[in-house]
């Protein structure tokens, strides 16, 4: 069904045109109840079991705004360096579509609660400031299932089924100002912005911002202008681009598509477009309605929100250290390169590493285990690092056991494996599996004697002063003890037995 679009190469597109982007991100807040009524927001409930007269839009019902919803909006605004409105109202956005049973979405129009901010993002070692136009409060829509069409899509469906559990869940929509000057880095800047915003939202604790769960969704506006021209071109709006990788791909695709249309003497139609996860393409959707078609007007059922300045300042004082600042601090503390820090970030390892350090492990050891053995295992099982069944305290204990000489790295890996298999805490595993290093001379001595007896040639070399050859005998001892020998002590014993000075 995907219509093949003409594309020009990315390089050719960038040689002739300058991309301008606008990103609209919707964040579903993690409140217990909906934005304007007390219905639960718990996921996974049976269809239409979390609705009430207010979110169903029944006559006579009255909405009342969720205090935590407003507080979250102010926090997001402050974290994005926005001004917070002294007084603002909700507005009705009227449209005829069954995903909202009220026939309008309660939103904000010309009086957003937060406006004029910015978010700094890092792209390949360069800082890029993305300016924020506004962040406003609104509500999510219901979930439609289209029945009868060949592909389960809206086109060709015979009828649709609506579940309104999601209708009314608090959303914050964050809109950037036009992002100019990113040039060829536009796709990376878009991705970095959404990633940074996600980290910020998580740090604020206002939402888990899990894109794969639809808790954070991105619309990508893109236009091209010939290089050197001031005036923006006509934009397209690609809806529901719901992963970081997809944001990057959607921007790239639209740059190549626009360039092909414009380069061929055509014009871009202002329309919404659908993004296709399978191949990273976009296809035409509906022609965008004009704002006036939504017939916005102030919501008469909700009174204005006027955040007191003292309250705003109180909230500002509770803001956590922001993710980018925290990353810079940790990178300096850990003494690692930009590239290494980026790997830690990409692996989702920052929080586990910090927790492990807090549990007493040295930073380099915490980093080594999370970025090495544990990252490998998370990768193998396709889970996130933070979802592995091992706690920071357990990893810290493994580090301590290595530091005190009870475990070497090889044994430590076995302990970690056992902890992941649910065999208990590191100390229990060491006990049960008998994994501690053997450094006790009587136990080691036998293995050393055997190794010398089995390798008389090597032993002679060592007696002749080739001390480096001892490594081969240490290897034999390690093998005989299945890796549990204290290698340093084994070497000492070997040299002692053969009468050589180390």
């Amino acid at each position: 069904m995907t219509v093949t679009e003409d594309l020009v190469s990315y390089e050719d597109a960038l040689a002739a045109f300058d991309p301008v982007m606008g990103l609209e991100v919707h964040v579903e807040l993690g409140t217990k109840t909906k934005m304007f009524c007390g219905c639960s927001t718990e996921l996974g409930a049976p269809p239409n079991s979390q609705t009430c007269p207010t979110c169903l839009g029944l006559p006579g019902s009255l909405p009342v705004v969720n205090a935590v919803g407003v507080e979250s909006a102010v926090k997001i605004g402050l974290a994005l360096n926005c001004e917070i409105a002294e007084w603002c109202r909700f507005a009705r956005k009227n449209y005829f579509y069954p995903d909202m049973p009220k026939n309008f979405q309660t939103s904000q129009y010309d009086e957003p609660i937060a406006f004029n901010g910015y978010l700094d993002v890092d792209v390949e070692g360069e800082t890029f400031r993305v300016e924020i136009e506004r962040a406003h409060m609104e509500e999510d829509t219901g979930k439609s299932t289209h029945v009868g069409g060949a592909t389960g899509r809206i086109h060709g469906a015979q009828h649709s089924l609506l579940d309104y559990n999601r209708a009314g869940i608090p959303l914050i929509e964050i809109v950037t100002k036009p992002i100019v000057g990113a040039g060829a880095k536009a796709p990376e800047v878009a991705k970095a912005y959404v990633a940074e915003l996600r980290e910020l939202i998580k740090a604020l604790g206002v939402s888990e911002a899990r894109m794969e769960m639809g808790q954070m969704r991105c619309d990508v506006n893109l236009s091209l202008r010939p290089i050197g021209r001031e005036k923006f071109g006509t934009r397209s709006e690609t809806k529901n681009v719901n992963s970081l990788r997809s944001v990057e791909r959607a921007v790239r695709f639209e740059i190549q598509r626009h360039a092909a249309v414009l380069g061929g003497g055509g014009t871009i139609v202002q329309e919404t477009r659908h993004f296709h996860e399978e191949d990273g393409s976009t296809t035409s959707g509906r022609i965008k309605e004009e704002a006036e078609d939504y017939r916005y007007f102030p919501e008469p059922d909700l009174v204005p929100v006027a955040p007191a300045r003292e309250w705003v300042e109180e909230l500002r004082a509770t803001l956590p250290e922001l993710p980018r600042v925290r990353r810079q601090r940790l990178q300096a503390e850990w003494g690692i390169s930009d590239h290494e820090m980026q790997s830690v970030l990409n692996a989702g390892a920052i929080d586990p590493i910090v927790a492990t350090i807090d549990a007493g492990a040295p930073a380099d050891q915490a980093r080594k285990w999370w970025m090495g053995e544990l990252a490998r295992r998370a990768n193998e099982s396709g889970t996130e690092l933070s979802a592995l069944p091992i706690t920071a305290a357990q990893v810290a204990r493994v580090c301590a056991l290595v530091a005190e000489g009870t475990l070497n790295d090889k044994l430590a890996r076995q302990v970690i494996e056992a902890v992941l298999l649910g065999e208990g805490d590191p100390d229990q595993v060491v006990e049960q599996r008998g994994l501690a290093i053997v450094s006790d001379d009587s136990a080691l001595g036998a293995a050393v004697d055997e190794a010398i007896a089995a390798n008389p040639g090597v032993a002679d070399k060592i007696r002749d002063g080739k001390v480096a050859a001892a490594g081969a005998l240490v290897g034999a001892v390690m093998k005989a003890t299945r890796g549990q020998a204290d290698a340093a002590r084994a070497r000492e014993l070997i040299l002692e037995r053969l009468g050589v000075q180390g």
Binding site: T33, C39, S40, N48, V64, P304
Partner: protein
Amino acid sequence: MPGITREEVAHLGRLSRLELKVEELDHFAAQLDEIIGAVARVSEVAGEDVPPTSHPLPLTNVMRPDTVRPSLTPEQALSCAPAQEQQRFKVPQILGED
């Protein structure tokens, strides 16, 4: 006086998904014109010092705590639905094939 054109009525009809007959367009255009004209008289008496009012009461910040309250049962929620299927509201085809 602003004049409401039949094109504007037709556009409003489309947005509201109302099927209007040709003769209704003129009929409603005249009626809507009259209604808007009547309402517009308010702005004639309101001076510069009278801001547009969206709320008659001088209230702000009426909020509720984030505490769950019982919802309707799915049966209650669906009781007025003209059609339902799989415990969901059933609505006609939304978009035609295109």
